[in-house]
Symmetry: C2
Subunit: 123 residues, 2 copies
């Protein structure tokens, strides 16, 4: 089992100025496929999900790693330009016990495009 | 141990037209205190958290219930008018095994103010 998981919304549209842009295949699916095709860092897996209910802020994904780690939701991701940064951020996250990567070591998209974070669900 | 948890952001400001409004005590803290003071449904507990990184969409909270349930993040909550609906929604969520409450049985704020949802983290 991988230690941490990127759960990618495969139905996300891109949102520009608050409006969802029509585009097929959907950018969320393209982001998922690009991540699946990438050389994944050790301990990182990628799964798809048909809707993360973050429809106003696509593309979106969840970065999670069990009940001891914080969980993060990132938004406004671009399948064409953000794949490398997402994987770097996931690798840094996988290297922590609690999911908290020092601020300066986070990719810029993880610093600026957090939609929400959830504390460890230990109990 | 309670079955499900409302994790309330205690540092959330209210956001109007994309701007965070200055107000003390912060609406997030008032929401937390109002929920703590309420008659909680069976199986529901309330905890506070200093920041859920949902700062553009306050007030916010997380509704979670272990690795078998979907987790939800709700946004733009009002400490003065939404407490009853939040508790009704949390009770309905607690009554499910997987966290999925039929659409029509969800409070309107849970239907319309979802910021994101996260699939069960079973493995």
């Amino acid at each position: 089992m991988a230690q941490v998981t990127l759960t990618v919304c495969t139905t996300c549209r891109k949102t520009v100025d608050g409006t969802r842009v029509a585009e097929e295949p959907r950018p969320g699916l393209r982001l998922y496929e690009a991540l699946r095709a990438a050389d994944l860092p050790e301990g990182v897996r990628v799964i798809g999900n048909e809707c993360l209910s973050a429809c106003d802020n696509g593309c979106s994904l969840v970065l999670s790693g069990g009940p001891e780690r914080w969980t993060y939701i990132y938004s406004h991701l671009d399948p064409d330009t953000h794949v490398d940064e997402i994987l770097k951020g996931a690798a840094a996250y996988a290297a922590t016990d609690d999911g908290i990567v020092p601020w300066r070591e986070r990719p810029v998209i993880f610093r600026k495009q957090s939609l929400a974070r959830i504390p460890p669900q230990k109990d």
